[in-house]
């Protein structure tokens, strides 16, 4: 099965072949690699590569996967051919929507102060909203210029991480 994987800023073409037992043959950009890989739990894998043993945990992160290896965390995106095509289409649609900016809560927090009102003009770097998490205040800023279209929260409201707060177009 063929995949396209992105780690750091590089993309790789990976071919996975299922061998006997817990063995797999991978071709990473044409270079073959034999791997002994056992799934230990939902998230945890044990890999042996040329005798070296690794415990790897994989969870869904912001990028499709957050991969833990010996204390390091790697963001890895792995797509099938079909998913890759689909993503290219979505990216075009997003480009069409350019100029639209959704300010979201970076973590579970409480809205302390709104710095803008609907209809207001904002420039890049303008403060839009102040949120508080764990006694620390955090000012969220606009990355582009535009008009405030929508405010989805009110002052004092508690929101989960990722919650859309303000929409600028």
């Amino acid at each position: 099965m063929e995949f396209f994987a992105r780690i750091g800023d590089k993309e790789h073409r990976i071919e996975v072949t299922d061998l006997e037992g817990s063995h797999y043959r991978l071709s990473v950009d044409g270079v073959a690699r034999d791997v002994d890989c056992v799934r230990i739990s939902e998230s945890c894998y044990s890999l042996i590569l040329d005798g070296t043993s690794y415990e790897v945990d994989i969870i869904r992160g912001v990028n499709p996967y957050a991969v833990w290896v010996k204390g390091e965390v790697h963001d890895v995106e792995v797509l099938t051919e079909r998913e890759k095509r689909l993503k290219a289409v979505t990216r075009k649609a997003a480009a069409a929507q350019e100029g639209r900016q959704v300010i979201t809560a970076p973590m579970p927090s409480k809205v302390v102060r709104l710095l803008v009102a609907v209809g207001e003009q904002v420039n890049p770097g303008n403060g839009v909203i102040v949120v508080e998490a764990m006694k620390m205040e955090n000012e969220l800023r606009s990355t582009g210029a535009g008009t405030v279209r929508e405010i989805r929260v009110k002052e004092g409201e508690a929101v989960v991480g990722g919650h859309p707060l303000v929409i600028i177009e």
């Binding site: 894998y45 690794y54 969870i59 996967y65 290896v69 790697h74 099938t80 579970p108 764990m134 006694k135």
Partner: protein, 500 residues
């Protein structure tokens, strides 16, 4: 001994107290806010009662509700842990009036310890050196006139302050006026008191504190020091015992100073005298923390004395069975505080759900934790997940064990201070014991991020994971399926055809 203790706290310290009570056969009562219904301390206590909504002011700080729960559940004592109500003399007094034992010093002693000016006066009375300064409530004019007597740099501090709030370093007289304004205003807004005092600002001092234990008869012991110089924003990050610079002679002098201070304020309970120590090993008294410290485990591991059980026994009126000569120290212990925070983003708190939580274990490793896999770290409270403590026969062994334990410690779903602490444990200056209160700030500036070493492994694992997920999703290929189809499936298909 008490038959039931209410624990007016949450998180790892509530669990620590529950453990001590269980060992002693004392029943425990937990309190919790609405945000903490699923917290570990609620699950592990014998009884649990909700005291209000998530914000601390409406739950963990509601002295009235907590006392009401204590009465209803017939608890005979309250352990305040640290933070929250632990240093609140009014709460101690309310307990005294309600006939419930507050596990701590008397409210009188707490008042004295809580005032920086009063405790500096106490130190002078008992002959313990303090940082040169003027500890009266000074007017602006007095400060401007007398600051040069002490000599710059000086520190302006809010009299009621704590945790770095209401504190300003002044390097020359031109900065004085604006620093006074800022200190007074922070003192007013944070503690409701604009009074300030001034102090000599020591260059790169160590923060070293002395643990004491005093029973109701006044029998007072010192249990040795803790080196707490590794701080950021006045919050301790790594603590250890003994201090790398300690000598037996200095320990005795500092220990006796701490005991004199405790006796001077009729101290009862476990407690800590904090000192600054300069490069010439001169020590200056800062304050008494009239409660259990977060970092008490390093003293427990080096002395073998359970401080929480000692607190409870003292509060129950039992005399300390130990003499000072019987206090012995063995080996070295280090504690790392594991916070939900992002070291790459100025240590900003990072609440959220612990998707994976695999704490380390092994010889010499203790993890005092308040969380579990699946727990959602609330946004309302201190973001400490656990305290990881390593004991070794010497400092070298303790650091080695701590480093391995940190590398084994897996927390996914949120960011934590673990990667930062791994780097501290490998830092040559730290390994040499060459630390002071400016260490962390300087360390953050000088450290470089290591290049990731296991990219290829991550890539390979993610590809196999994607392959397995894809295989689960896709139906088996028709050709292969035909050969492997089960008789049950065939029979079902046959029936389906007939029914049409």
């Amino acid at each position: 001994m008490f038959s039931k203790i209410l624990i007016a706290n949450r998180g790892e310290i509530a669990l620590r107290v529950i453990r001590a009570c269980r060992e002693m056969g004392v029943r425990t009562v937990a309190i919790y806010s609405e945000a903490d219904r699923s917290a570990l301390h609620v699950r592990k206590a014998d009884e649990a009662y909700c005291v209000g909504p998530a914000p601390s002011a409406q739950s963990y700080l509601r002295a009235d509700r907590i006392l009401e729960v204590a009465r209803q559940s017939r608890a005979d004592a309250i352990h305040p842990g640290y933070g929250f109500l632990s240093e609140n003399p009014a709460f101690a007094e309310a307990c005294e009036k309600a006939g419930i034992v507050f596990i701590g010093p008397s409210s009188e002693t707490m008042k004295l310890c809580g005032s920086k000016t009063a405790s500096r006066r106490l130190a002078k009375q008992v002959g313990v050196p303090t940082v040169p300064g003027i500890d009266q409530d000074l007017t602006d004019e007095e400060i401007l006139r007398r600051a040069p007597e002490i000599g710059f740099p000086i520190l302006i501090k809010a009299a009621a302050g704590g945790g770095g709030k209401g504190m300003r370093v002044v390097r020359e007289s031109a900065e004085l006026a604006s620093a006074i304004r800022a200190s007074r205003s922070e003192g007013q807004s944070s503690f409701g008191d604009p009074a300030v005092f001034i102090e000599k600002y020591l260059i790169r001092p160590r923060h070293i504190e002395m643990q004491i234990l005093a029973d109701a008869t006044g029998h007072t012991l010192y249990l040795g020091e803790r080196e707490c110089s590794l701080q950021r924003r006045h919050q301790k990050v790594v603590e250890e015992a003994p201090s790398p610079v300690m000598t037996a002679e200095l320990r005795q002098r500092m220990g006796e100073a701490a005991v004199a201070l405790a006796r001077g304020c009729r101290y009862r309970n476990a407690g800590t005298a904090e000192f600054l120590v300069d490069a010439d090993r001169n020590f200056y008294f800062l304050e008494i923390n009239a409660r259990l410290q977060v970092e008490h485990p390093v003293t427990e591991l080096t002395t073998g004395i359970d401080l929480v059980k000692s607190q409870i026994r003292i509060a129950a009126g039992e005399p300390l069975a130990l003499r000072q000569e019987e206090v012995e120290w063995r080996g070295h212990a280090i504690e790392c505080r594991i916070y939900a925070e992002d070291p790459a983003n100025n240590f900003a708190p990072f609440p959220g759900k612990l998707i994976l939580y695999r704490p380390p274990s092994g010889p010499g490793i203790r993890n005092d934790s308040g969380v579990y896999e699946g727990f959602e770290v609330p946004i309302y409270y201190d973001p400490m997940l656990s305290k990881l403590i390593a004991w070794g026969r010497d400092r070298h062994e303790a650091i080695g064990r701590m480093r391995q334990a940190l590398q084994d410690y897996l927390v996914a779903g949120i960011k934590t201070s673990i990667p930062f602490l791994v780097e501290v444990m490998a830092d040559p200056a730290f390994i040499k014991g060459d630390v002071d209160t400016t260490f962390i700030e300087a360390f953050v500036k000088r450290k470089k991020m290591d290049e990731p070493r296991h990219r290829e492994v991550g890539l390979v694992a993610a590809a196999i994971h994607a392959y397995l997920m894809e295989k689960e999703r896709r139906p088996p290929a028709p050709a292969a399926a035909a050969g492997a189809v089960s008789p049950w499936a065939l029979a079902a298909r046959h029936n389906a055809l007939r029914r049409r």
